[in-house]
């Protein structure tokens, strides 16, 4: 039974790898072109990746920081020793 699951999973992975989108040819590149041609003027930053992460999708980064904050607060609550 285990090898049936293995074969099905491997076939699925091979099919997915075969059907992968060709690299560097997006279906719709309007947003990529917009960011490449406007990121330096709109955010004054050379690094387009950082300008996407902190400016165009800054709200998402705020959520990421909130996830980090929640995880650390949970770990501190569980593990911190309080002197009596």
């Amino acid at each position: 039974m285990r090898w049936v699951a293995f074969v099905v999973f491997a076939a699925f992975l091979l099919f997915a790898a075969y059907e992968l989108h060709p690299f560097g040819e997006p279906d719709d590149s309007r947003m990529d072109d917009y960011i490449i041609s406007n990121a330096q003027n709109e955010t004054a930053a050379n690094n387009a990746v950082t300008s996407v992460v902190f400016d165009y999708r800054g709200y998402d980064t705020l959520g990421e920081a909130t996830v980090l904050f929640t995880a650390i607060a949970g770990a501190l609550v569980v593990l911190r020793r309080v002197k009596k």
Partner: protein
């Protein structure tokens, strides 16, 4: 740990911290940014914990002050976002573009980069870097303190 490890750790520590600040400050020019540089800086503090023991590190940096450091980073992030909401159109709007501080617009295309550019991105990178350094270091410190009593 042995004196050899302690000496080498104390020698390397400032260089790792400087590299962490470099990665954070150049987040808008080169690969890297707040999260990556913060992880480098936190790993420097973890190295001190491994070499010197959690109790000796706790004498210099308590986990309370580290988590206050982290919370200041989060507050700076949110306050910068709200300033963008008030001063310009939307939350986290890049209101510093064109201003003298961090506002120099670089020429189009690839160029060496200007440190005084990026709008609010350097401020947000510093805030996230403070958050990651304080958070990861305080978690590892608390785990090492809770782990046991050995040196």
């Amino acid at each position: 740990m042995t004196p050899v490890v302690r000496t080498i750790a104390a020698l390397i520590f400032p260089f790792i911290i400087i590299f962490s600040f470099y990665v954070i400050m150049h987040g808008h020019l080169t690969p890297g940014g707040g999260f990556q540089g913060g992880a480098i800086g936190a790993s420097a503090i973890v190295m001190l914990i491994v070499a010197y023991g959690a109790r000796n590190v706790k004498k210099k940096a308590k986990e309370e002050s580290l988590s206050i450091f982290e919370s200041i980073g989060g507050l700076v992030f949110v306050i910068v976002g709200i300033i963008g909401f008030v001063a310009a159109s939307s939350f986290l709007y890049n209101f510093l573009v064109g201003e003298p501080l961090f506002g120099t617009i670089p020429p189009f295309g690839s160029n060496p980069g200007i440190l005084n550019s990026g709008g609010i991105l350097p401020i947000l990178n510093i805030a996230v870097g403070m958050k990651v350094i304080g958070g990861l270091a305080s978690v590892v410190l608390v785990m090492a303190l809770a782990g046991g009593d050995e040196e």
